[in-house]
Structure formats: C-alpha cells, structure tokens
Amino acid sequence: MADAALVTMTIAELAPKIKAKAISPVELTDAVLAQVDRLQPSLNSFITILPEQARRQAREQEAALMRGEYRGPLHGIPIGIKDNIATAGIRTTVGSKVFTDYVPEEDAYVVSRCKEAGAIMIGKENLEEFAAGSTSNNLHYGAVHNPWNLDHIPGGSSGGGGANVAACVTFASLGTDLGGSVRGPANFCGVVGLKQTYGRVSQRGLLVTSFNGDHIGPITRSVRDSALILQAIAGYDPLDPSTVPVLVPDFSALLGQELRGLKMGIPSNYYFDIIDPEVETAVRQAIAALEALGVEAREVALPSMQYAGALRIAGMADSLVTHEPYLATHRRDYGPTVLYRTLAGQFVLGRDYAKSLKVQRLIKEEYARVLQDVDFLVTPAAPVAAWRIDMATVVLGGTAYPVRGPGAGMTARCTSPSNATGLPAMSIPCGFTRAGLPIGLQLIGRPFDEARLFQVAHGYEAVSPSRQRRPTLVDAGYKTGSTA
C-alpha cells in the first residue's frame, strides 16, 4: 500500500488490516517515520524523535502478531507522546530548559498501558514551556506550526500532538489538559480532542503540574479512534489517588446509535458572550445539524459562570507552588512568559484561594443541576480560530485580549471550566473560517458518561462540514495528492 494511503487512515480502519496481517506494523512505522522526516522541518512538532526505538517496537509487535498474539486495536499503531509525560529511558523535557536533560526511570501509567496495548512510540511531542499556555510557541525548542497554515499557532499546550495528528504524522497523541490543552490544539488543528472525566485516567507520570484539574487525554483524527485510545488508558490506578474505581465501560458501545430523543443544552450566557462571528456561525450551524439528527435543543442558564474568572486564582497559587523548587534553583532557565505569569501567584491571598475553591464548587453544582435536565451541553471549543504565531493580542468585539503570558486567559475560556468541574468534554471539528482555519465544537457531558459524548460526536462527525478534509501539506509530497 502506498505511504499516503497508509498514513491517512484512522486507527479503526488500520486495526482490522493489521490483525489480518494485511498491513505490517513495520511497514506502517516506516511510512510514519518518512512522514516525520518530511514534515518535522515545517511543523517542528517533536522535541525528540525515536526512529530506532520505533522500528524495534514495530518489529516486536510484528513478531507478536505472527505468533498469534494480537493485543487489540492499538497493536502496531504509531503514536506520539507529549513531552511532559514520563517515558522510561527517554528524556522528558516538559518543554523546558530546566528539564532539558531529564531522563525518567519509569513510564507514566498511560504510556505503560499504550505499550501493553501494542502501540509504537514515534517520539516526544513539542509543547508550550511547562505546558503553561495555548500557543506552543516554545522559546527553547521553537514554535510548533499549524498544518493548515504554517504561519499560525497549532494551539497549546499539546500543540505538537495536534499538529502531528492533523498532518497525518501520527495516528494519535497523548496530550495533557489543565485548561484546554488537549481540546485547544485539537480544535485549532481540526481534529478530535478528549478530556475525559477527572479520575477516569491516571495522571501518574505527568510532570510539573497542578493536582487540581489536570488530565491526560487523546488527540485523534476520528471520534471512534478517541474511544479506542480512552479504552486503552482508562481505569483505576491504585498509585494515583485522583483516579476513581468505577467500571470502565465499552466506550464504543453507543457509536452509530441514533441521536433522536437526546437533549442538548445550549448555554444562554458565558460561552457565546465573547466570540468571533465566524466561529459562532459555525457552532450554531452545528447545533442546527444536531437538531436535524433528532436532538432536542434547550437553552440553559449558567449564572454562576459570571464568576468563572475566579477559578484562575486557585490556579495561580497552585502553579507557584508547583514551580517553587525549580524557580529556587533554575529561575534563569525560565522563559519570561511562564516566569512572570507564575510569579504573580506569590501574591495570592489564602482567603482568595479559598474563595476560588468555593466558586469552583458553586459552578460544579450548577452544571450538576443543568445536566439533570439535558444529556449534554454544546459550546464553542474556543472563541476564535488559530491566530498568527507572531500575534501578542487578539481583538474581539473591539477589545484586545493578550494571548501569551501574563494576563492571557481568553483563549481557554470555553475549555477551562470543564477542568474545574471535572466533567468530560471533547472538541470536534465543525467547519472552517474563510481563511481556511479549523473551527471546533465542544460537547460537555455528565460525569463518567464519555460513551454518550462519543455517540453524539460520532453522529455529528458524519455530517460535519469538516469531514474527510485534511491539510494540503499532508498530500503535497505524494503524487496521489488529494485533500479529500
């Protein structure tokens, strides 16, 4: 099979062919590594590329197949890992100069699970310094570029993963999401990003982060693939107290079931208050498409969201405490955007920190009430599409909002509330701007009800204007080039 045909397939399409030995993990890995060689100079999506290890793993997985030891749908599938997730024997920089030579002794729990499932690790993916931002313009390792337009950001902080999955460099990425860092890059790069319920997936081995609200989640090219990755990494980890010992269901069980009879909530405040008109139009059209599929739309009010900005206060203090030991010894190794954003946290009063946690509780209760009446919520994934890498502010409704460093927060305003509530949320493509940049829809579900989100997202995916489209640079190097 030609390389172009191989790298543009989804995991769900590849898995039965690998199981039937019609596609070899070695052949697939070679095709992916060729794609890495071709696109890394343009995308800068990896910090560390692992060709020898990937080929060795591919040979091992192929040998296992030949012995009749098929390990499931991730068997022989090349994936990327964000470089703040620990990998044994492979340096894990957290996108920082501080950790530039750090080599963990153990794999993160999710990395172990993916290896057990037969996945092949292609490399460690570029990100915002310390995963603290939404541009993936990394001072130390260079900016990641959006495959739809190389002058634009891919989103962050898991920008390398978003760019790689969209550009058909990898079939999936494991990213991390403390305020939207999986859903943001997925949105800006036109692919699928999932932040599952807090406690569904172990965070053990996720480096330099807050205990409050971080998640490891998948970026994929299809909803079905997202369910397959979650299936591999979900579950109680006795060594991570944040995980919850609940049943892990078949996340693909509801895929293909009709949506008629479901109820969606459309927030009447907050999510559409600050938004680019092109984004709002695309999201409203997606809502209409869901109605056409039989979903009942109900307007819902979330009045406590007027205080959502206060959630950031706890985050400021958490971030300061997280970085304290490194700031004490490696301050000069920090880039200015992360350094000064983090140091502001030392002025947060304990009273305000406690109030922030109370607001978090208030908002969680409000979502819990609303989700008694509807099955899921629909919102934009971000107020704007990907902006140019060199932009420091984005203007919306006549107001200039900082998009990097101290004061930046507008870009994550649609995603970060779900980190505070812990509710599952996913970003799926719902169209493009006139400039050809992806727009994303966000679905927010009930706790531990990811299967329902997958059902809805999968139903919408089939009618989305983004379906079957991919960046032109994916095919530019192949004679069979086509964007459909």
Binding site: Y340, Q346, E365
Partner: protein, 64 residues
C-alpha cells in the same frame, strides 16, 4: 484597584517570596490585575452557604 510596588515588595520580603525588581513587577502586573479584578467581582457574592445541601431537590430533601 491596584497594589503599589512598595506593598508588593514588602510582601516578597515578609513572606520569603521570589525577588522581583520594579521593572519585573510591571511584567507580572497583567496577571495580578486579572486576579484583583476577579476578587473584586466576588466582593458581593455570598459564598458562605456553598455546601453539598444545595444539590438537594425538593422531592428528595424532605422536611426537617
């Protein structure tokens, strides 16, 4: 509302914080101003009664 540099410098000294020059404090200010604005919005919000009892629905709560 804003906090003068002298107050911030005194906080750093008194609470063993990370030293910042006045020029560096200007770089921190956008984040600090956001924080103060959000605190200001909370001034009239009664958070004292935020507790799990708020989740009870009438038909489940019964009478006490």
């Amino acid at each position: 509302m804003t906090i003068p540099n002298e107050t911030l410098q005194a906080m750093i000294r008194s609470y063993h914080g990370f030293a910042l020059t006045d020029d560096e404090l200007e770089l921190v200010r956008p984040e600090l101003e956001n924080y103060l604005q959000e605190v200001e919005k909370l001034r009239d919000l009664d958070l004292a009664s935020v507790m799990s009892g708020r989740l009870l629905r009438a038909q489940e709560g019964g009478e006490s």
